[in-house]
Amino acid sequence: MEILKVLSRNVDLLILDEPTSVLTPLEVDELFDLLEQLREEGKSIILITHKLKEVQSVTDRIVVLRHSEMVGNVKTEQATTERLARLMVGDVFEQEADAVELTDQELPTKEKRRAVDHSRDGVLHVEHLLVRGNTGDVAVKDLSFDVHGGEIFEIAGVEGNGQSELVELLTGLRVPASGSATINGANILGVSPRRIYRLGVAHIPEDRWELGLVLPFTLAENAILGVHQWEQFKGPLSFLRRGRINQHVRELMDRFDIQATGPNAPAKSLSGGNQQKLIVGRELTKDPAIIVASQPTRGLDVGAAHYIRQTLIEMRNNGRAILLVSADLDEVLALSDRVAIMYEGRFMTMCDPQSLSRERIGLLMGGVKEAEAIA
């Protein structure tokens, strides 16, 4: 174990970054015993984690970071779980300020949405899904859920709790361990990405540089990634119809407000926001039944983020199903019709976000169950 290697070096200062993410609960207990022992020996230990329980069980002092700023510095005995959660997700005052900002931007109201019949199977229907991560550990543990047309179903949670693996599975980029998943009744497990897109899945990926775009390609070439086999772009002998493709790109640039010098600009010359708008535009032209969007606004400027959220809501109002994965609390509260909070591969809860306070969401994201939170 790496940790043991570090310990054997007889250090005075030990920094551990999410040390428990690869350990079993039993091993975690052992580790913490060891850490306490080290503390008794007079060593300094810095523990970086998002798990509230861990924080409270071993530490003496807690520093809370949010958006790269230090927002809290408290003694552990004085810190209640609620207080930590509030510090992690932002203050009540800020929350109200955000709410005002959002109404200023006139989000389409929820009344517009159609009634969703939750008793029926959704567009996406997932049952007892088990997914393994890259290292062979179980990243998604026995999940079952439905996403219906006309709703935004959001999976919230701190990154690295199985969301990426789930999304990769649903879009054909990962092989399932067990369970079932269907889109409009058709199986999508172990099916190639191309077939899955044909079933009407659009995917706005988490990593737009690695997955969403071929960076050295031009805007036009990127705009047809995944749809390049469409009749409208393909002439006789599989020739690409450059004229039509360029026209299509110009339409995308107009409709999605993509700032670029032209269809032949390399994708890497675009700003992050414009790259993301290009991906969103491309995916929406697929006329999808369900949109799987993973952290679609991460790292974007306010304008681009707002635009993309607006677009997602429009698609929702058009009766599309939207599966949104996000770690951004504001996004959860502003967008989702239903939210599931994911922690270590499981859903902590699944409900209407209006029924949850920010603190409760923060607690759940940190892995603290309801009963414990009340106590």
Binding site: M1, T135, R194, L211, G212, H228
Partner: protein, 386 residues
């Protein structure tokens, strides 16, 4: 106390870095060629030759008149095709070093035309078809090994070059040998050869085969969905997978196209040079030897673009044609090997900007590799416990 490097020199280094990485690709190639020629000049000077005179001889020998230009073009003809082999596969993200071997197979296959009596016009086409098929089949084996067993294509294609070389020699000596002159194979009859384009030279109509194929490859790569998929999978395999592109298919396709190209290169040599030309088994297959490897240099200088390759092949063809003149010129002639040194120096100079550019990426990859090993070692004891 440790001294910091002076700020002036770091700024200079950064400036050099920016200049070298920001150059237009075509300019980079020209710069590399110039650097290669300068290194050659330096070596000639050290060994007591007159570089100026030698290069004038080389230039005259390469482009000094219609005969010289013709022989440069005739040497460029197969180089264009073997360069395309390397470039097509590189565009798909594969290092196909096997042009040499695929070219031998193509050459041997095209000699087979000599076994039949054919109406005029058919022989040429049949020869090209034979050669293309043989080249493609030869390149399919490494492709299959890669796709089904994950065998590294660099290693398998290099090994296949050797197999192919001795196989070709065997066939030329024992199966296709000319009964009258046992050191060479049967010659393809004149009616089935590509006619000479400029009288008295080696340049034949096969030049147009090369140019046409380069243009075809250009259109395939940049104007069809096949080429689009090949390039996407080569540049970013994960994004290609996300875009529903089957990278196994694109690799397969690239190897087939590359094999066809290298096979044709063999045919252009056997069917294009003067009427008596055939593969000389005894002499270690002159004319064919190294054409595949030189093609890789051409591909690099041509920036793996068919049009760039056409220009680069003319340059390299000129080097090798002019080099022959250079070694007979003046009182202190420069040996032919010097030309190969220049070629080597150009290839090295080509790689400098690329090296500088990939250095940060390579460093990052190295770190990721170390990280992966650490993670694996972290997993090790855990599994033992279980």
């Amino acid at each position: 106390m440790r001294e910091r490097p002076p700020i002036g020199s770091t700024r200079l280094l950064r400036g050099v870095y920016r200049t070298l990485t920001g150059l237009h690709p075509a300019l980079e190639s020209v710069l590399a060629a110039v650097v290669g020629l300068l290194i050659g000049a330096l070596l000639m000077y050290i060994w007591g030759f007159n570089p100026w005179k030698a290069y004038i001889a080389l230039l005259k020998g390469a482009y000094g008149g219609s005969y010289e230009i013709s022989s440069s073009l005739s040497r460029a003809t197969p180089l264009i095709l073997t360069a395309l082999t390397f470039s097509i596969c590189l565009r798909a993200g594969m290092f196909n070093i096997g042009a040499e071997g695929q070219m031998y197979m193509g050459a041997v296959a095209s000699v087979c035309v000599a076994l039949f009596v054919l109406p005029p016009g058919v022989g040429q086409i049949l020869g090209l078809v034979f050669a293309a098929t043989a080249g493609a089949l030869w390149s399919l084996v490494p492709a299959f090994l890669k796709l089904t067993r994950g065998v590294n294509e660099v290693i398998s294609t290099i090994m296949f070059n050797w197999i192919s070389k001795w196989l070709a020699l065997y066939v030329t000596i024992f199966l296709l040998a000319d009964p009258a002159r046992s050191e060479k194979t049967l010659s393809i009859p004149v009616a089935a050869r590509f006619p000479v384009l400029v009288r008295g030279t080696d340049l034949s109509y096969t030049l147009f085969v090369s140019i046409a194929f380069a243009l075809v490859i250009y259109f395939v790569l940049w104007h069809t969905t096949f080429g689009y998929e090949i390039r996407a999978a080569g540049l970013n395999p994960t994004a290609a997978r996300y875009g529903g592109i089957n990278s196994k298919r694109t690799i397969f396709l690239a190897f087939v196209l590359g094999g066809v190209s290298a096979g044709l290169a063999g045919a252009t040599i056997v069917m294009g040079l003067r009427p008596t030309y055939a593969i000389y088994g005894g002499g270690g297959m002159p004319q064919l030897l190294n054409m595949g490897f030189d093609g890789m240099a051409v591909a690099m200088v041509g920036r793996n673009h068919p049009i760039g390759i056409l220009i680069a092949a003319l340059f390299f063809g000129g080097l090798s044609a002019g080099g022959r003149v250079m070694q007979f010129y003046g009182s202190n002639p420069v040996p032919l090997e010097m030309v190969r040194i220049v070629m080597g120096a150009i290839v090295l100079a080509m790689s400098i900007p690329e090296l500088i550019r990939i250095f940060p990426a390579a460093k990052k990859q190295g770190q990721e590799f170390v990280g992966l090993m650490r993670r694996l070692s972290r997993r090790g004891p855990k599994e033992e416990e279980a």
